[in-house]
């Protein structure tokens, strides 16, 4: 089949061709970028935090009228409050282990600083940014973080200090990512300086993976850089990460509030105080999941509208050329020739649309990169998008083209 008569026919209804090609182009441009956004969000949401997330929960509570931490003796008073809570929590039958901790991955509260190879480096300089997790010897076990080198904290390592007091610990555990950045030849036993301090901190262990708290774009530069310090922080509030025995999460979540009130009723514990890690995860990624869903809905509508548009317009053309089809059939064209004619015609239009669409997709991506935090659209997405609109076009055109091929040759002899 030659393309020449087809192009000549298309030139008869330029406007319709231009509109449908434009529609395909815009659809391709938007769907490519939307699917790319979905892909990125799904990837973000699915990255493992490094925790063993099942059977893990967090309690956040605040003591009423607790010392501020500024007077002498305040920190010790706060620490004894915390110790009492810990003892009661560890005593619960369904609890496997508990750690007092300042935050958890994905939680919107963090303490960040920098790690340097040399002492006295500027706080905002250093060799790597890092987040800090402060906890006691039960930290690795409770979080379910995997130690890959060195040793975990022991009870003898653990210190305590006021939340706003300064001081760098003599020892710390770092994540593999931070260790690789600071000491590619192995970090255990090496010395680093935190937050521009002059006090050395010796790395005693390396954990495989632990994400920073917070999921905002500002964490992008150091998502896997964490430093674990053997320190109980003392403030007028505290957080306890609790690992329950398998399958006992709900039971502990229910039982924990009365237990803590039993230790000391002068505290704030409300609906938001007790959260499973699944809740924390859902809340942290709500915006990402929402964006992915929204983009998905837009893509579905777009594809539906465009497919319907192609069906509608082709049906119209088939109706318009009813007689010509009859003439062609009478002159010896087979059914399959008519089918192929409309399929090829659609391929031609969709192909033109796809070429323009690729340019628009890349243009839109560049614009989004320039104005919003967006990555470069991988070529694979564009190729998949082109294939998808061509397949979409063929699928949409099939029914009207079939109908066209069923026009009997006798139509040619009938007058209108």
């Amino acid at each position: 089949m030659t393309l020449h008569p087809m192009i000549a026919a298309l030139r008869k209804h330029k406007a319709g061709v231009v509109l449908i090609a434009l529609q395909i182009a815009l659809t391709l441009a938007i769907v490519c970028n939307a699917v790319f956004i979905i892909g990125q969000r799904v990837q973000r949401v699915n990255r493992p935090t490094g925790l063993d997330e099942s059977n893990l929960m967090l309690v956040t509570q605040q003591w009423v009228g607790a010392p501020s931490g500024d007077q002498p003796g305040d920190v010790d008073k706060l620490d004894s409050l915390q110790q009492a809570d810990l003892a009661a929590l560890r005593n619960m039958p369904d609890v496997a282990s508990v750690v007092p901790i300042n935050s958890l991955p994905l939680l919107n509260s963090s303490w960040n600083g920098s790690a340097a190879l040399k002492p006295g480096t500027d706080l905002r300089g250093g060799n790597a940014r890092t987040t800090y997790y402060f906890g006691d010897e039960h930290m690795l076990k409770t979080l379910g973080v995997k130690l890959v080198a060195g040793r975990a904290f022991t009870a003898a390592d653990v210190q305590h200090r006021g939340f706003r007091d300064q001081g760098e610990p003599p020892i710390a555990i770092v994540t593999q990512a931070l260790a690789d950045k600071l000491f590619p030849q192995g970090a255990v036993g090496k010395v680093m300086y935190l937050d521009g301090s002059g006090t050395p901190t010796t790395i005693i262990g390396v954990v495989q993976r632990l994400q920073v708290p917070g999921t905002g774009s500002w964490t992008n530069g150091f998502v896997w850089n964490a430093t674990l310090e053997p320190v109980r922080l003392n403030a007028n509030f505290s957080r306890y990460a609790i690992r329950t025995k398998p399958g006992r999460l709900q039971a502990v979540m229910k039982a924990v509030t009365p237990v803590l009130y039993g230790v000391n009723p002068m505290r704030v514990l409300d609906d938001d105080s007790v959260k499973s890690f699944a809740d924390i995860r859902a809340e942290a990624y709500r915006a990402d999941v929402g964006m992915a869903v929204l983009m998905g809905v837009v893509c579905l509508i777009l594809i539906g509208v465009t497919a319907a548009g192609i069906v509608g317009l082709t049906s119209f053309w088939v109706g318009q050329r009813h007689r010509q089809i009859g003439v062609r059939r009478a002159l010896g064209a087979r059914k399959v020739d008519i089918l192929h004619y409309f399929q090829t015609e659609n391929l031609l239009i969709a192909g033109i649309g796809a070429v323009i669409g690729v340019l628009l997709a890349i243009g839109l991506n560049l614009w989004l990169m320039h104005h919003y935090e967006m990555d470069r659209l991988p070529v694979l997405y564009v190729i998949a998008g082109v294939a998808a609109v061509l397949v979409l076009g063929q699928a949409a055109v099939f029914a009207p083209a079939r109908r066209a091929s069923n026009v009997p040759p006798v139509v040619a002899t009938r007058s209108v």
Binding site: D122, G196, A287, G290, G312, V416
Partner: protein, 438 residues
């Protein structure tokens, strides 16, 4: 004449119901997607205090110098204690207040009730007139209470409901962090979004309520710690909350009211003069690098509108355009199919304008039908953003009368626009050709 065109249009639409439904669906979905995302965008990009935002300014002082500046040379977006207090003492603006976020516990009266946690801000007395906070009972405190560090508090209507059953509680006392505070005012329902007076600590939007406002110096005195962000360029030399006050760490929000251009430029000069004084005193080793942004500029520079919201709106507008192109294509096909009918009408003396009127009426009906469908779908859309978007933003999106009108208007106007070219083509039909070919 219009009713005749209406009849013609309805008859024509009935003749090809599939095509008609297709166009209405396309318009409906396109408009609904745009309007749903627009309702979210409108909610987050709105001016929280439109009657006054141009008079409110946020000063920034470069207390960290070159090493603490962001990549584009911006000074920190919050204030350290020393500089905020210097600005407060100088009192150069009409109204001004340093403020910081607090999260104290409140012990309800009555046995068996557990303490609750409230959030709020420690502010100066001028805060209330500056942000036009509406009062249900009482008022803010006076500047004498600021100076005396009085134990007074302004509470939200929500907290008033919880503690006092909604009664006029002015003069009664509330136990905050174990100390008694006298209620001087109860706010009316007031929940500005974005939380413009403290964007840095709330990230702009907050689903939480602001329950208490306490005198700033009182809060500092009793050591009520800040609950928001603290950013440091160096480790504080001393520990504790007092150590924070002596450090260059930034954790305070600051806002001033300046009523005219002269006041703005005078305040700018004052800030630069202050920074130069600090430079001469040896505290700053760099030239003044201050900012004084009006509230709208400040919200913009803090990127309060989430980029996801903007991208969604953009993508949804793209969808609407595709739907319109689709409708234009289908209308074109539909109209030109009736070339012979147009030819007859023209031959019988119909003007081109009559053809325009006839076909635009048809496009308008489709637009209106699409708008009604779009309205229903927008309702569904706005209702479902609550389980898709973050809570603090989703709760702001709502369907109201202006949005309803806008939805119908956009649907109709857009469809008329899409119908323009097909109608133009229809009006160009040569009567002679059409009559001959039959």
């Amino acid at each position: 004449m219009f009713s005749y065109y209406l009849q013609l249009a309805l008859r024509s639409l009935k003749r090809s119901p599939g095509l008609t439904v297709l166009m209405v669906l396309a318009i409906g979905f396109g408009v609904a997607a745009s309007m749903t995302t627009y309702s979210v965008f409108r909610a987050v990009s709105g001016d929280p205090i439109p009657w006054k935002s141009s008079k409110l300014f946020v000063p920034q002082i470069d207390m960290w110098g070159p090493k603490g500046r962001s990549d584009n040379g911006e000074p920190p977006d919050a204030m350290d204690y020393a500089d905020a207090m210097a600005l407060q003492r100088a009192h150069r603006a009409k109204l001004q207040s340093a403020m910081y976020q607090v999260s104290p516990s409140v012990v309800p009266t009555g046995a068996g009730k557990h303490p609750i946690n409230v959030s709020g801000h420690a502010v100066y007395s001028e805060f209330f007139p500056m942000v036009d906070a509406p009062f249900r009972y009482g008022s803010g405190w006076g500047d004498d209470a600021d100076r005396q560090r009085a134990a007074v508090v302004v509470i939200s209507s929500k907290l008033n409901e919880k503690l006092f059953g909604g009664a006029n509680s002015v003069g009664r006392s509330v136990s905050i962090e174990g100390k008694d505070y006298r209620v001087v005012g109860v706010l009316d329902d007031w929940n500005p979004q974005p939380r413009f007076y403290d964007v840095v600590n709330t990230g702009g939007f907050s689903s939480g309520n602001e329950d208490v406002f306490l005198p700033f110096e009182r809060a500092i005195d009793v050591g009520m710690p800040n609950d928001g962000n603290t950013n440091c360029s160096e480790i504080p030399a001393e520990s504790g909350f007092v150590g924070l006050q002596h450090s260059s760490c930034v954790w305070l929000a600051y806002m001033v009211e300046l009523d005219d251009a002269a006041a703005v430029s005078a305040y700018r000069q004052y800030l630069d003069g202050y920074a130069r004084d600090q430079q001469q005193a040896g505290r700053f080793g760099w030239a003044p690098n201050n900012r004084l942004r009006s509230l709208p500029d400040w919200l913009d520079s803090e990127k309060v509108v989430p980029s996801d919201t903007k991208v969604s709106l953009l993508v949804a507008l793209g969808l609407l355009i595709v739907c319109l192109v689709n409708t234009a294509g289908l209308l074109l096909a539909k109209f030109l199919r009736r070339s012979s009918e147009i030819g007859v009408r023209r031959a019988l003396g119909a003007q081109r304008t009559a053809i325009y009127a006839q076909f635009l009426t048809e496009a308008g009906i489709i637009g209106l039908a699409g708008g009604v469908l779009g309205l229903l779908l927008t309702g569904v859309g706005v209702a479902s953003v609550s389980w898709v978007l973050p809570k603090d933003i989703a709760s702001l999106a709502r369907l109201d009368a202006p949005l309803l009108v806008l939805t119908l208007l956009v649907a109709t106007a857009a469809t008329l626009l899409a119908g323009l070219y097909p109608t133009f083509r229809a009006s160009r039909v040569q009567p002679a050709w059409q009559l001959k070919s039959n």
